[in-house]
């Protein structure tokens, strides 16, 4: 693995919010082409702050490189093309009046002509299986559809890396399965911020654990889930049987 070049490389990343909160306290991280990494951590441990550094939405001290390019002002357009960030709340991501226009937003910003942008947007919608919704308004969609349209908006920019921030939030189990199989079919390297151990087990090849703005553990998803008891103890299989027996 050491000979392979990472598509994301982060060294000693630190970030403090204006109110003095230390959100990231020396993060070192690598993501390699083709792999899917789950990023676990408690609420407020700095996961979202971390992913917002990967495409330069936030800037801290330390080094962040994406596909060999340092994340700095002059590289931002290229970096944002290479990293597709799917936000936790799809309503924040779907701001255009129709689904097709929303998916075409990224390609238009990349300088595609109108016809080409529409073509690319339609192809991305086809990829997520929602071409029939092209002319719908985003607020008429279900949570699962919104998430897939948000993903199409990112795929339309043809990124090399996908970063998903808690993608299963608000999704019912069938929509989660649909999203999991869709993500599995996509070839890009993926970083998935999630609380959902089962979702991570289904997709990720590796996991890292965030605590107080640092990565404190790294390993297989099973190891990390076991070590940090990332399936709540009270919800584990057999504990219910005692109640049922009573």
């Amino acid at each position: 693995m050491s000979e392979r070049k990472p598509v994301i490389e982060v060294r000693g990343l630190r970030f403090r919010y204006a109110d003095g909160t230390m959100a990231l306290d020396g993060v070192d991280f690598r993501l390699y082409a083709g792999e899917t990494v789950a990023l676990f951590g408690r609420n407020g441990s700095g996961k979202t702050t971390f992913v917002h550094h990967l495409n330069g939405l936030l800037r801290g001290e330390g080094e962040v490189t994406v596909c060999g390019l340092p994340v700095k002002k002059e590289n931002l357009p290229t970096v944002r093309r290479k990293i597709g960030l799917v936000f936790q709340d799809s309503d924040e991501q779907l701001f255009m009046p129709t689904v097709l226009e929303d998916v075409a937003f990224g390609p238009l910003n990349l300088g595609f002509g109108a016809a080409e942008a529409i073509e690319v947007a339609r192809a991305a919608l086809r990829e997520v299986g929602l071409e029939s919704l092209a002319n719908k308004a985003p607020y008429h969609l279900s949570a699962g559809e919104k998430k897939r349209v948000a993903l199409a908006g990112i795929l339309a920019m043809q990124p090399e890396i996908l970063v998903l921030d808690e993608p299963t939030t608000f999704l019912d189990p069938p929509s989660q399965s649909q999203l999991a199989s869709l993500l599995r079919s996509l070839p890009q390297a993926k970083l998935i911020v999630t609380h959902d151990a089962n979702f991570a087990l289904a997709l990720a090849t590796r996991a890292v654990f965030f605590e107080k703005g640092k990565i404190v553990a790294e390993g297989s998803v099973e190891e990390i889930v076991e070590r940090f008891q990332w399936i709540p103890r009270t919800l584990r299989e057999r504990e219910f049987t005692t109640h049922q027996a009573e």
Partner: protein, 234 residues
């Protein structure tokens, strides 16, 4: 809610719905100018001016009763001014004022009832309205639904914990407005980040609109009709 009903009309399909938004804007504008500049509107001429409205309702397959009732929202305002004219002894002017404002409102409703807001805004933009202005209206419309949903949830949550007296309700509502403002602000920041993440750098080129032969015919007939209504001697 008004905007939900009209939004539903605008997503219908008819020969009027399929016309280019710019053409409809220009024809409506022509009609409004003709109507506004007609001196001493007689009832006979007012009846003539009602014909394009009826045609619009028919061609756009709009619910006539509901549309005409909605157009009446302008009446309290124009009636107030009309009252001053009546007091000043100019009844004809008062009638003309009320009729003109009512017909204008109906014409605008035919336009927005047959043109989805995004297309209407795009049309305005292509006719020279500033992009920033149309973007703001577009976002306002898009997030009106999200914010009103937040407000609904908060109202239900308040009800679940007892409604209390009027004074307490007022205090809760005041607090809710503050929370809504803070959430809207946070939401705006989130949207801005999502836009930046997809390469937004201040301006996104808009998708083009296409005018066909029927649109051109509609424009010519529409503007000719507006002119005719204005100048035909009665």
């Amino acid at each position: 809610m008004h905007h939900v009903v009209i939004e539903r009309w605008s997503r219908g399909s008819s020969v009027l719905h399929s016309r280019d938004a710019r053409i409809k804007l220009l024809v409506t504008l022509g009609y409004l100018i003709a109507l506004a500049t007609t001196p001493g509107l007689t009832l006979a001429r007012a009846a003539l001016y009602a014909v394009p409205i009826a045609a619009g309702i028919q061609l756009g397959r709009l619910p006539a009763g509901a549309l005409l009732a909605r157009a009446a929202v302008v009446l309290p305002f124009s009636a107030t001014f009309a009252l001053f004219s009546v007091i000043a002894g100019d009844t004809a002017r008062a009638v003309s004022l009320v009729v003109k404002s009512y017909l204008s409102a109906a014409a605008v409703l035919v336009l927005v009832g047959t043109t989805p807001l995004p297309k209407l805004l795009r049309g305005m933009e292509l006719l020279g309205a500033p992009r920033m202005l149309t973007l703001v209206v577009q976002f306002l419309f898009r997030y009106l639904f999200v914010i009103s949903e937040h407000a609904q949830h908060m109202r239900l949550a308040a009800l679940c914990r007892g409604s209390g007296g009027a004074r307490l309700r007022f205090r809760a509502a005041a607090g809710a407005v503050a929370v809504l403002f803070a959430r809207s602000f946070g939401r705006a920041e989130g949207i801005h980040r999502a836009m930046l993440a997809r390469g937004f750098s201040g301006e996104t080129p808009a998708l083009p609109m296409v005018i066909d032969a029927v649109d051109v015919l509609f424009l010519i007939v529409g503007l000719a009709a507006a002119l005719a209504l204005r100048v035909i001697p009665l």
